[in-house]
Symmetry: C2
Subunit: 393 residues, 2 copies
């Protein structure tokens, strides 16, 4: 085979649906020499990480830890640990990730009761109520807080009450929302949820923080049969992350170093400040894009701060624009998925990537590229509108 | 909560069952800024990594890639993709990892036909033949090449013929052996196998290289039902790692950077040179330990080069010795697991950790600590015997 050369990737500005850019301190933490996964120093690091995660999840849940896989492994962890064959499970399907949950629920031998909404829209409490009436005995209701495929922001509090009234558990996908907008696990009655490291936490992809409350844990303890995945079986994982320290699998040491550092950065900034930053950059970007005639794709009033889904203007070559952004400006933005393929752009402003300089550069680059394609927009309009939005903030 | 301080782990010499120490170039690769998981530059890196993995697995298998989880996720990947409910599966159980495979096989709804041997021993072709006769129609036979919990080195070639004569697939755990001793996937007729990054590849834990040949792939394509794990479903993962590049999950970018660099280092050293290095350090260590009166625990003629399992001498406090090695010398060695708890030490000489300076330092430290405990051995005997072994090599 040919010799493979030295690693030398281009310096990308990551404004897609994740990964986001990592802070230099996180990258430096990654390069720290290893210790063993049962070393007392690593055990201390695990405890610190659990504490930091509880703070960002806004929870007191004991069972709060990073699963050794990406966000999708976290999704599977929540579902395979809580579900048994024959269960009725309500899943909100309004994008890629709800669709994926239905797939996993069915692989668990359970019945998925799909609650559907148009991609880009969110669910009303009435829809949840209606879906619950379609179940004999709903085991859990699962929804996506921040649908990365559509940019829709699902309100959770009212749904949570309905779910609990029906005697079910409330499971939420907070992969994209965590650390970018409020996620109050305890206050909102979320029984189990999972996130990813590569979105608003701005840590590289590879771990999935999860948290389970006491009722969820009791459901796991009362299982009639073993969890179908050995790797994701929380009854064993909690013994490694808990006081027993029983070896389960070899924890990804370097990724845990990185997550701890990313969480330290979140703590230093403060959650409220971090959320406000995400909101302001979102508002500035949307103002700038509107001035260029580019309009939001997600339902009004339910648009995410960290994932801006916008309509590709008519006559514009979606792929060519994204390619030019990457090649000429080193900027990555995301394409549409599924029914939104070719119709939307997904612009992520997550964690470290959510900053004024990125918003202004993207608007400037986009204007230039669109004009080259014959698209008409006033020169400088995007950047000006964004600056005005920052000045108003 | 308390403020969590800057990451500052002790500079450990990792001579346990993994992780091993990572080369500075691998740590540097980890700290490289991120690109997206669908970036053309990352796609090229994926192709390079597949080529490098084929070279270390000694295979032409198209389906050769790193699973986004640790070695245990690779074990689960091999089993859940190949097994369907009701299948007969022969598993060699002579340590922790065979035991784990039985557990996973049963979670797949299959019948595990356990083939047992004393921990530390290997299986004879006759034992395999006998186990095969206990099956109606064996779907696959799974054994561990290098049992990390015992230090036993399982010969594979004769078994492979028997397995194929019985019409079954041959699945092998090469987590600890890969890149430390010969693993010839094609020449030995291994249909599917999995490894881990943190052993002889000397990359941090977090990925599991796997390879599947055509017959194994056909078994997956002919499945009657979906793979029970969505995250580990190769029918989808191969579309992301293959030419279609269909998004499945967000690949762990940084860990893939590290793996590529670790594989480049293997390529630069050359497999044969690397194997010889592992062998020589093993022989020197065993000679040194024998001179201190510390004897091997695994079956004679089947002792691994990279994982040296030795008997804790009578009257010596196992845990105290390991604690002193860690605290006074920054050296980690492994404890015994299961029935070997308190009875053996597991000394890893894997990848970067397999070097003369580590062997000599460990022997010197061990002698000092043992003498402090009242154990009698000739001062300097271990180091001298090891040096003599190096001089003979």
């Amino acid at each position: 085979m040919e010799t493979v050369g030295e690693l030398s990737p281009s310096p990308r500005i990551l404004l897609g649906p994740g990964p986001s850019n990592a802070h230099p301190r996180v990258l430096k933490a990654l390069s720290t020499p290893l210790v063993g996964h049962l070393d007392p120093e690593f055990v201390r690091l695990m405890d610190e990480t659990k504490d930091l995660l509880r703070s960002v999840f806004q929870t007191k849940n004991t069972l709060t830890l990073p699963i050794s896989g990406t966000g999708s492994a976290g999704m599977e962890t929540c579902l395979v640990n809580l579900i048994e064959p024959g269960d009725d499970v309500v899943v909100g399907v309004n994008g890629v990730f709800g669709t994926r949950m239905v797939d996993i629920v069915e692989r668990c031998g359970a019945r998925a009761v799909a609650m559907e909404a148009q991609w880009g829209n969110v669910f009303t409490p009435e829809q949840v109520q209606e879906a619950l009436t379609r179940c004999k005995r709903p085991k859990l209701v699962a929804v996506v807080h921040a649908e990365t495929s559509t940019g829709a922001w699902q309100p959770l509090q009212e749904i949570s009450s309905l779910v609990h009234q029906a005697g079910a558990l409330f499971v939420v996908d907070v992969v994209t929302s965590l650390a970018g907008c409020p996620v109050q696990v305890d206050a909102w009655g979320i029984d189990a949820c999972y996130s990813g490291t590569q979105k608003c936490l701005s840590c590289p992809p590879g771990l999935s923080p999860v948290t389970f409350n006491q009722p969820a844990l009791e459901v796991i303890r009362r299982r009639k049969q073993k969890v179908q995945s050995w790797y994701l079986d929380l009854t064993m994982i909690e013994k490694y992350w808990g006081e027993e320290r029983v070896y389960h699998h070899t924890a990804p040491i370097s990724m845990n170093y990185a997550l701890r550092e990313a969480l330290r950065l979140v703590q230093e900034e403060g959650l409220e400040t971090r959320f406000r930053r995400h909101q302001q950059n979102h508002l500035a970007l949307m103002a700038g894009l509107a001035a260029l005639g580019i309009m939001p794709a997600a339902q009004e009033g339910h648009r995410l701060w960290m994932l801006n889904s916008v309509l590709v203007p008519t006559g514009v070559d979606d792929a060519a624009v994204r390619r030019k952004l990457l090649e000429d400006y080193n900027i990555e933005i995301g394409a549409g998925l599924g029914p939104l393929r070719g119709k939307v752009w997904r612009i992520g402003l997550m964690g470290e990537s959510s900053k004024r300089s990125n918003v202004l550069l993207l608007l400037s680059a986009l204007e230039e590229i669109l004009q080259q394609q014959g698209y008409r927009c006033t020169s400088g309009a995007g950047v000006s509108a964004a600056q005005a939005a920052y000045n108003r903030a």
